[in-house]
Symmetry: C2
Subunit: 403 residues, 2 copies
């Protein structure tokens, strides 16, 4: 069997931890499996490199930033390979370039366009454990790119797909997916299994263990993920198709995300094409917009449009929109970063009406004001005042009987 | 004019120093030149990475070691590029792989086989300052290699050659080539110009500012080197063909090198092919042998062969030779690391007989015992007890009137 394993930075934060990971990889190899390992950078390496860049300039060139931060995975992959050699097993580390992970040219947020499997297959046939630098790729012009947050998860799932791996084990510092953040909700429970769709909605909340794009990838290509801890041997949470899950609860998970800011464009002319203009300009800058709310037009002439972005993208978003104000005939752009998003996810919502109403009531009873609401088939998100987010999660976790 | 500039690790040891280098590069650009910059890793980065490897294993795989340490130059090149962008100039960093610096497969000591100039020329034509990661290349199979000590100098000179650069400026933390090490010989003087041949002999002494292979390259391809300090604007030392130097002194430089160990193979059968066997086995391991001395056979049957290698290579050399003992019918291998090499270099020696005799007399007068002697047309080296090396240099420096 071919198994893809991915180890995050917290599992590779020290020399000792790298040696532990080597032993875990070798254990899988000894069981007769071929193993492809995807690694993140050690501990806080990426942040430290980014910090260096910002000491030089407040707006580092993105191509150069990718050149810089891609070294983190190169270091951890080489060290892990050495640790495996030290135990008497064959291993080889490969950069994104050496594997042939081709991406588009959107530096710091690139998307994988294709993966060449020749080099990996050759190394596997030579009995090597193959260690791939996660998070990175290369453009057709050979410029180094990185895949953005959670990029190593995407690398692992994409490799599991193209190599037709049995499973993709994603090792992290938590035991699996919980019904709520155990730091906030003491009675949170670990889920044995969760569907791609629920995980996707959870991933879009930002604070969870698996990245949105990585889960999208897994769903699209049917890659079964086993999310588990690198610090113990417990089974984690399996992420797979909903059809394989016996009975889904109404609500699987409650979460909050403080990495969001609300931006409102005031007094937008109410005519066709305006929203398209706004969001295509943001997309051109690679800014991911999360919730979008457009209120009903009051005077039938102008309107307000609100949306949320991550804190990293706030300043750039505001700048883009200020430049667009004349074109939109809008009056001003306001932003608010004293907010947080509280969300509930569960495939059972489809067949249980009234979930949203109950959520709003529970929050209302505690005087938690709701600034924005956005719903999907299996998720409800509310923007609330940042200071109220923890309380909101606790109320909902107990109110929906997840304990 | 096209100028190649190389900055060593000591010129790039901090964010502030990288900014200074950026300004120096921009100054050259502003004078109307095209500039290709070759960088080493920041400060002690390479040593720190090697230290990490040795924390994992006492004998790190060399391919993986190259994968690891090549990240150092990638970091400094990206940061320097950002610093140049910050000042409003265009720049792009390129790895050895991106440039197309093709080497053989001798990891950690690879040799350049060819350089593709297409990418650099394209970037220069786009008005970019091109920043190349020194010290690294790539094999035809796309494995990352490094060029060994002084590798960034070699990269710079090789690029200056293939790009037909006007000059290759090598920036370091000293003002140029001195008649002796100023830390040992207080009255040492800076040389304005020195020939490739003298520099080659100096480089082979190990302790000097320019690497042997880099100078060989420069001589072979006629690249004029300007060796100078990145900390001031003083002219440094020009390294060029001897014919361009007006009057050469008898002795240009005296130096000592403590990074050497003496190895002796005792009781080698005195028959043809033995020396070839010994040194080809060492060469196969990529071990550079420096001085070789074979004494006259005393009993016409057996012989002792002594040679010197760097400290790094001592253990491996001794192991190789121990394995060869039966084949050589030799009795034992002994090694001595309590030695240092003291050398004098000067093209004037060719036309001035008696230089060697005077050197031995000066040392003898001070009771400094000579363990090994090796001479070339323009160099005389003696192995002496390590504790006597500094004294020997001082005696010779004043004895040959270099002050």
């Amino acid at each position: 069997m071919l198994i893809v394993q991915k180890y995050g930075g917290s599992s590779l934060a020290s020399i000792e931890m790298i040696k532990n990971v080597a032993n875990r990889v070798i254990k899988t190899r000894k069981q007769g499996n071929k193993v492809v390992v995807v690694v993140s950078a050690m501990g806080d390496t990426t942040d430290e490199l980014i910090e260096k860049a910002y000491k030089i300039t407040s707006s580092p060139n993105k191509r150069e930033l990718d050149m810089l931060i891609s070294t983190g995975e190169q270091i951890s992959s080489a060290l892990l390979s050495m640790a495996i050699h030290h135990e008497g097993y064959k291993a080889i580390s490969l950069t994104g370039s050496q594997v042939g992970i081709i991406t588009d040219t959107m530096h710091t947020k690139a998307r994988i366009k294709g993966i060449d499997t020749k080099r990996i297959e050759k190394e596997l046939s030579l009995d090597n454990i193959v260690i791939v630098c996660g998070f990175q790729g290369i453009t057709v012009d050979e410029d180094i790119t990185t895949l953005g947050r959670g990029g190593s998860d995407t690398t692992a799932i994409a490799l599991a797909s193209v190599l037709d791996a049995e499973t993709c084990e994603i090792y992290t510092d938590v035991d699996g997916v919980y019904t709520g953040d155990p730091r906030i909700v003491k009675k949170a429970k670990k889920l044995d299994v969760i569907s791609y769709d629920e995980m996707l909605e959870m991933a879009s909340l930002g604070s969870v263990v698996l990245n949105l794009r990585a889960v999208e990838f897994a769903k699209k290509y049917g890659v079964v993920i086993h999310l588990r801890s690198s610090f113990n041997d417990k089974e984690g949470t399996i992420i797979c198709e909903e059809v394989n899950i016996m009975e889904a609860p109404v609500v699987s998970e409650i979460a909050s995300d403080e990495n969001c800011t609300k931006i409102t464009i005031v007094g937008v002319k109410d005519k066709p094409g305006i929203a398209g203009t706004i969001f295509s300009h943001l997309a051109d800058k690679g800014i991911n917009v999360d919730m979008i709310v457009q209120g009903a037009s009051l005077d039938e002439k102008t309107n307000n449009i609100s949306f949320t972005v991550t804190r990293d993208d706030m300043n750039e978003s505001v700048n883009v929109l200020k430049g667009l104000l004349p074109k939109l005939s809008a009056t001003e752009v306001i932003h608010d970063d004293n907010v947080a998003k509280v969300s509930m996810v569960g495939v059972g919502m489809r067949s249980h009406p009234g979930v949203a109403a109950k959520m709003f009531s529970l929050l209302g009873e505690r005087n938690i004001n709701i600034h924005m609401i956005s719903t999907s088939e299996i998720k409800i998100s509310c923007i609330v005042e940042k200071g109220k987010a923890v309380e909101a999660v606790r109320i909902l976790h107990s109110g929906f009987g997840l304990e």
